[in-house]
């Protein structure tokens, strides 16, 4: 007698407990094994690209803050880079260095959340989250000192940054840079060699190298699959060609490698911060750009290495005070097209770990 079984469809609904935003996955399960998966998103669509067409170029900067809210500084950076390429504006030296300092601090802060919530999904009951949020709190204090806000900074402007850094910023940053490697070592001691973590993440959710290149993945997801590509080296923007840093890559493309790549990137960011602080010159922080920028007719694409991947802004101008077309190339939207291939064949408990390891932020996926 043959028992007939059939796969059933289950819904990881928009509100689920180990959540990274409102994201829905429709899975077809055969027992415990995932047979098919379909991501459904769009629950957080706010029409940012359309709203940007009704705001001036400077007024769009608060909008870009709200794209990937865990990494606002890099969003601002990418946008003002695109506008400066469109209008042909140069930026003073001190402003470039300040921008790099902010971007690297932001990279550390975003990776702290990514790794912390990933380890929480693996089951370590909130302990890594709380340790990493303590370090993120220190970074947010620094950002608060500079821009006045803790999450949506609105700090970079077309032609520089908004205000100069106060004089207690550099001593505080020096203290942070001195103690951060010690904290990263502590995270490693907590969970890097933990056997249960290794058993749950090594070999799980492999993204093969060819597939990663074919879907134009970027960021730690791509680098963990073995492709050594970083926009800061491949297409250097701002003054990144003056700093020495390594690009950590993984070999296997599984969840463990993505986790290790993010931790190593944090260490490299600390290295860049040290170099930027030593080389920081004096001078103006904002070049004289009129309040209502009128770029000439044309288009520009400005892209940077955001913590989650290659964030790009495509702007089309028609010589008015507002952009004619404002398009965001969201890295996480493009990275998550591989989710189905990564998840098929694994079990339900692994689905959450794989989903956590590609580190999406739904605000960026849905815009």
């Amino acid at each position: 007698m043959v028992i007939k079984t059939e796969p059933f469809v289950v819904n990881f609904g928009p509100a689920h407990p180990s959540t990274h935003g409102v994201f829905r996955m429709r899975m077809t399960l055969d027992g415990e094994v995932i047979v098919d998966m379909e991501p459904v998103f769009g629950y957080l669509h706010r029409g940012i690209e359309k709203l940007a067409e009704e705001r001036t170029y400077t007024g769009c900067i608060p909008l870009t803050d709200r794209l990937d809210y865990t990494a606002s500084m890099t969003n601002n950076f990418a946008y003002v880079l695109a506008v400066e390429r469109l209008a042909g504006i140069t930026v003073p030296e001190r402003a470039e260095y300040i921008r790099v300092i902010m971007a690297e601090l932001q990279r550390i802060a975003s990776h702290l959340i990514a790794v912390g919530t990933f380890l929480n999904d693996c089951g370590a009951f909130m302990t890594p989250v709380l340790y990493m949020l303590r370090e993120r709190e220190k970074i947010l204090d620094l950002f608060d000192m500079v821009s006045g806000q803790r999450l949506t900074y609105n700090y970079m402007r077309v032609g520089g940054v908004s205000q100069d850094i106060p004089e207690e910023f550099i001593p505080a940053l020096k203290k942070f840079v001195k103690e951060m490697p010690g904290w990263i070592d502590e995270y490693d001691r907590l969970l890097k060699e933990n056997e249960i973590l290794l058993a749950r993440t090594k070999g799980v959710g492999i993204l093969p190298k060819e597939l990663a290149i074919n879907i134009s993945a970027s960021g730690p997801v791509l680098r963990a699959s073995g492709v050594k590509r970083d926009i800061r080296r491949a297409d250097p923007y701002s003054i990144y060609d003056r700093f020495e840093f390594d690009i950590p890559t993984g070999t296997a493309g599984d969840c463990y490698d993505r986790y290790r790549v993010r931790i190593e990137e944090m260490r490299q960011s600390v290295r860049i911060l040290k170099q930027a602080m030593e080389q920081l010159p004096k001078g103006k922080v904002r070049s004289d750009v009129p309040h209502l920028t009128h770029p000439p007719v044309g288009e520009a694409y400005g892209h940077i290495e955001a913590p989650r991947g290659e964030l790009g802004f495509y702007l089309v101008s028609d010589n008015s005070i507002a952009p004619y077309r404002f398009h965001v190339r969201a890295p996480t939207l493009i990275n998550l097209t591989a989710l189905r291939d990564m998840m098929v064949g694994w079990k339900v408990a692994d689905a959450i770990i794989i989903f956590g390891s590609i580190d999406i932020c739904v605000a960026e996926v849905d815009r």
């Binding site: 705001r55 001036t56 400077t58 007024g59 769009c60 900067i61 608060p62 909008l63 302990t127 303590r134 709190e137 220190k138 204090d141 620094l142 608060d144 000192m145 500079v146 821009s147 006045g148 806000q149 949506t152 609105n154 908004s162 205000q163 106060p166 207690e168 505080a172 203290k175 942070f176 103690e179 502590e186 001691r189 907590l190 969970l191 890097k192 060699e193 933990n194 056997e195 249960i196 973590l197 290794l198 058993a199 090594k202 070999g203 309040h291």
Partner: protein, 165 residues
């Protein structure tokens, strides 16, 4: 998937957690303990200096949301604008600070206090008299270096633990 380190990895993790028992937690006991906020905080309100304002409406033009409403009338004997209506809907405002940056006469400030919640939404719409500075509505140093120099420095978590057991 083998047991790679025979339990040593777990033991290392346990030592980290144990060491935390000897550290002071970083929790701040609000509302008994309050930390000093940043000097440039873009707090919950806007503060307007009636004497310096000339009614040029640069702030209203630079607001991305269109929150500030200004109605002026021409006053012939003093040869300047008379501001009839200056209204800010702080419920709609996103506190980006672009208006403060735009004002050429330094007549607009962000708020310094952050505990200024109201019970009704209609109380969030601030008109001329509600926007003036007072003892509870202190201006913050965002984009105003003179005020920033007079405010106390920020408490930083980097400077040490800020919690008490």
């Amino acid at each position: 998937m083998k047991f790679e380190r025979f339990g040593i990895g777990i033991a290392k993790g346990l030592s980290v957690t144990l060491r935390h028992l000897l550290r002071i937690p970083v929790t701040t006991q609000y509302p008994e303990q309050r930390l000093t906020t940043s000097r440039r905080i873009r707090g919950n309100e806007l503060i307007w200096d009636k004497e310096k304002c000339t009614g040029c409406a640069t702030c209203a033009k630079s607001c991305p949301q269109g929150t500030i409403q200004i109605v002026t009338s021409v006053s012939a004997e003093e040869n300047k604008y008379k501001v009839e209506k200056f209204e800010v809907d702080t419920g709609y405002c996103i506190f980006c600070g672009l208006c403060v940056e735009a004002c050429p006469y330094e007549a607009l400030f962000m708020g310094y206090a952050y505990e200024r919640a109201k019970y009704r939404r209609s109380e969030l719409v601030l008109a001329k008299e509600g926007l003036l500075a007072s003892a509870e509505r202190k201006p913050s140093g965002y984009f105003r270096p003179k005020i920033e120099a007079s405010l106390p420095p920020q408490t930083l978590l980097l400077d040490g633990d800020r919690g008490k057991r």
